[in-house]
Symmetry: C2
Subunit: 155 residues, 2 copies
């Protein structure tokens, strides 16, 4: 890869990541800032640099950075004698990703159990089918826990 085409491709990838993150519920601006901090060779950006690089207003950047920080997706560091904050992506662990998946599944499972509980006929089509799904989810959740332990050991 030639150095000249790298930045252009990186910008395209940021846009792609932006749209992907939007599908996960992020707003357009935070979604793209996440991309910026992951993709570019420069891995620490100041507030002002983000404003210039992304051509987004200071107010939008301010709001976006606060949100991303609260969510634990980005963090900032400061250097002695420099008032600026340097923002960077938080190096999450695979555990976190799997935990999120598991948490979502557990929430669905909770809801499914509530549906079953409220069914007048526990042998109705939906009740039967939801019971099967419920059992499957429990199986996978348990196995995911085991896998997390297995992965941690081997690493």
């Amino acid at each position: 890869m030639e150095d000249s085409e790298r930045p252009k491709k990186q910008k395209e990838l940021i846009e792609h990541i932006g749209r992907q993150n939007e599908r996960e519920g992020f707003q357009p601006v935070p979604a793209r800032i996440m991309g910026l901090l992951m993709v570019m060779d420069k891995e620490e950006y100041t507030f002002e640099e983000i404003v210039e690089e992304m051509q987004i207003s200071k107010s939008s950047v301010s709001t976006a950075l606060k949100n991303l920080e609260i969510r634990g997706i980005i963090e900032y560091i400061t250097y002695p004698g420099d008032r600026k904050r340097y923002f960077r992506f938080v190096s999450g662990e695979i555990d976190g990703i799997v935990n999120d998946m598991e948490a979502k599944m557990m929430k669905s499972l909770e809801t499914i159990k509530q549906i079953i509980e409220l069914k007048k006929d526990p042998n109705s089509r939906n009740a039967m089918f939801l019971k099967t799904i419920s059992a499957g989810m429990e199986f996978f959740i348990q196995k995911l826990d085991e896998l997390k332990i297995e992965y941690k050991k081997n690493k």
Copy 2:
């Protein structure tokens, strides 16, 4: 549970499921219709019954049902001598849920690999950290495949 309070609780659960589905990217009306078809004791609804039960306009119900059907979330059946379509929830399998999870993970993995490929310095902080995540994802995706087979066998 007394029969008198069941419908009320079911309605509340539909609203809860509606909001949960909205977080998954569904629009309010389809999100709640999904809930209706899963929760209520009556498990097959005609177009008109949905309009009355949910107090939503015919046009909105029409659009919502079409979308849900295209996505494979609901289906309809007809009975001989009856022009109405009876809508019901599609009894998906746990496999489908796990596949969706896996597909999402694989998409993320693809993106992460692209980021790594575009990094000038393959030993940068983000490059290193993304490589770790990447390896972890590959591990979990493979194990999920194995688990799907294991589950199918035991069932």
